[in-house]
Amino acid sequence: MKIFKKCLLAGLGALALLGAAQVASAQETDQVGRAAYIDGVKGKKVIFVPISQGMDLNQAWVMVWQRHAARYGFTLEVRDPNGDTNAGIRAMQGAIAEKPDLIIVQNPDVQTYARLLKQAQAAGIKVLQVNMQSATQTDSYVGNDWIEMGRLEMGELAKHCTGPNAVSHKVVWLAGVQTGAANIYMRTGIDEVLKANPELQLVSDQPADYISEKARQITETVLQQHPDLCGIMGIWDNAEVGAGAAVAAAGKQDQVTIVTNGAGAATGCESIKNGLLDVIFNFNAPTQGEIAAQQISELLQHPDRKAGSEKTIFFGPITRVDKTNATGRNCWKPEDIK
């Protein structure tokens, strides 16, 4: 009896589906809400002011957003100041004057664009900040939880450099640009771990300016002072390869643990395989780009919401990558994203 009932139900279900399909083909029913969505985003204008498009993370984001823009008919213009803060200010001023529907901005530091972002919001332009925050909070921020990043990296060093088997308790923080959001917030996380592990000794705290040769020079000098150094943490895999090179030149690859973070590009995985880096906390820039793309859609779909009326934050995923998992999705290449 039960089996008969089930069969009957299945048959009825199949009939219903068939019927629905027929209706669909007859009326060309649209996916619910799609027309409104496309209407919302089509023809909208988005301007992105990065720090520099030459960085791997920026390339990943823009590839993702361009694809999204092409599919749904909005425009994305990239105004690249190429690392020049003054050019960045001009780019921001120009973008605000053009009154686009959305400005995406990657802040070089927390102060430079702070007033300009307020101006943009006051002018009714929505602002999405990516990965590097300003002191001014705007409609949305998509990017790293930098305090957590600092905590993770110094926590990793704490694992290696505390306890009876540690070579020493000496660790180094190779900073980036000291006024940058990543630097400021990572420092908060670092300090928390240092407080919880009082035996850890921060013997050097110097900015390498995101430049590998500078990271190499600092590491080389510090290693002379502290031959028993246990760990180094940094802020960008492409810069910390310099620290790795100095450690390798001193023949201390087994002794010194090098931890950093990065966009997850294949070059970072290569550096792990070459033994220049030990751990990268990978924030997967293509995924970050997709989350930001979702925010772009959301902000464009609701022109009725006033700029700055709702402030949201989305922290992207962070994956710990070492020798064992430096493969596949943890090591993207630009051609994989296209």
Partner: protein, 332 residues
């Protein structure tokens, strides 16, 4: 002849004095750091100092060579990063890396040739010509290479040797810097061409009137400085496995110029030599090393560096006040 024996002596005195001031400050810093910092005087740290200034020093030798001839080459950092990045880029097409480096050297020499022609024949003032060319070279690189950071192939034995090898305990980067400096020193002092560079720098019009081939000399200077910049880039690639083209945006080119001027090569040309470059390089090296060991913050490092460098220039200005004899037309 424009320079009588007397004024030559004066110029010689001027040159030596600034160098002496810089050397004295270096020695003072060295003594203070040795007395106060652990391990500063260790063999390892002295080698680290030299290794850390090898790139700056190599670039400064090339810059010094051009400045002696009353020129200035602001393209050096752009040429260095783009030349090496070009080599790495074409090696990704499957070309042998060594061959790619040779191609890069040819490209760099061609850029140097173009710069030289713009300065010597089109007679564009070198500061403007090289500023504009630096921008174009870097800009072209930015368009061609997708990323700022380019990594060299991992298994190139000679490149690894440049980065990690050593000869008699001296790292290869320092050996190359030393070799470039020694060759340049000999070239400037011992060859006829070297003397012609001084003559051109001292008074280009007089040099030309007396029949010296000033234009070919200037063109050659820029080709050589470009090749020296490329050499510095290769050292860097060996040291850190790749090249970061964003260095163009850093203050490196000004540091190079600073080392040259600080060491006592006047921007008015015709004076100084490799010894001055080495004096300036060592001062910057000792200073940076000491402050890194002291773990000074970035801001205070920059401040202290500027104050010491400025005082070196100020002391020189007091000891050797400028007058009509020592300052020349074309002095910046």
């Amino acid at each position: 002849m424009p320079g009588s024996g007397k004024s030559d002596d004066r110029r010689l005195g001027f040159k030596a004095s600034q160098e002496v001031v810089v050397v004295a400050i270096s020695i003072a810093l060295f003594v203070v750091f040795s007395a106060t910092l652990n391990n500063f005087l260790s063999q390892g740290n002295i080698i680290a100092i030299l290794k850390n200034v090898s790139i700056l020093g190599t670039l400064a030798v090339g810059m010094g060579f051009v400045v002696v001839g009353r020129g200035i080459d602001l393209t050096m950092v752009a040429v260095m990063v783009v030349g090496v990045a070009f080599s790495i880029w074409i090696s990704t097409w499957g070309i042998d890396f060594t061959l790619a480096v040779i191609c890069g050297a040819v490209l760099v020499a061609a850029i140097g040739l173009f710069t030289g022609v713009m300065v010597a024949i089109a007679e564009v003032p070198p500061i403007f010509a090289t500023l504009a060319i630096a921008s174009s070279v870097y800009g072209s690189g930015r368009i061609v290479f997708a990323s700022d950071v380019l990594y060299a192939p991992p298994d190139i034995a000679w490149l690894k040797f440049v980065g990690n090898g050593s000869v008699l305990g001296i790292p290869m980067s320092v050996v190359i810097f030393g070799a470039v400096a020694a060759l340049m020193g000999l070239f400037l002092r011992r060859t006829r061409f070297g003397r012609l560079v001084y003559a051109t720098g001292d008074n280009p019009n007089a040099a030309r009137t007396t029949g010296l081939p000033t234009r070919p000399i200037i063109v050659t200077q820029y080709v050589i400085s470009a090749l020296i910049a490329f050499t510095a880039g290769i050292i860097m690639t060996g040291l850190v496995t790749g090249i970061d083209t964003r260095l163009y945006n850093s203050s490196l080119i000004y540091d190079v110029l600073l080392v040259v001027v600080l060491g006592g090569i006047g921007l008015s040309g015709g004076q100084g030599g490799v010894r001055n470059v080495i004096a300036g390089t060592i001062l910057v090296g000792i200073l940076t090393n000491g402050m890194t060991i002291l773990n000074f913050s970035y801001t205070s490092q920059n401040l202290i560096k500027s104050v010491i460098l400025l005082s070196a220039l100020a002391i020189d200005a007091i000891i050797n006040p400028r007058d009509e004899q020592t300052s020349q037309s074309g002095d910046i």
